[in-house]
Symmetry: C2
Subunit: 96 residues, 2 copies
């Protein structure tokens, strides 16, 4: 489900205009992005936490040419699911 | 920043009542949880995508006792950051 479909689905649930939901979702995204750029952790109750993690420098070897490349360290967003979400996924059939 | 602080920060930005923002965030969480449980991917524009991934069965060896345990396969939520978010993190100083 993409951003637009999500807005429509939530607007229906909240019985609110799509424009209001779109504004609120955009503000959620900008607020979360600002916080992450400030290296802050964000907690969504019953869903999970976002935090910035540093991926260390690593050596990568091309599978066919065997050429070795040094990948510099970088910062990535890490999402840690809440226990509530973990429980909900436990009883699902495993999709192969 | 926890859930409550996020609501207050967004309510101030949107000049909207906290209760309205709280409803929206709760609906965002329940909608995303329902979609993930249906094994659907969710895309937040300029932020990233959530999807369900299957972690395969693996053998774990206790570092001190060397006891070997078979960890069953499980489903986990994977968050893939958008290129826009990736770019914003690129110019940040690396926190050690």
């Amino acid at each position: 489900m993409n951003h637009k479909e999500l807005i429509a689905s939530m607007a229906a649930k909240l019985n609110a205009p799509k424009s209001v939901v779109a504004d609120l979702l955009d503000t959620t995204v900008t607020t979360c992005t600002e916080l992450l750029v400030e290296n802050k952790t964000i907690g969504f109750q019953s869903f999970g936490n976002f935090e910035i993690r540093k991926k260390e420098e690593r050596l990568s070897v091309h599978p066919s040419t065997q050429v070795r490349t040094l990948i510099p360290p970088k910062l990535v967003v890490n999402f840690k699911q809440s226990n509530i979400l973990k429980e909900k996924l436990k009883d699902l059939p495993h999709h192969d």
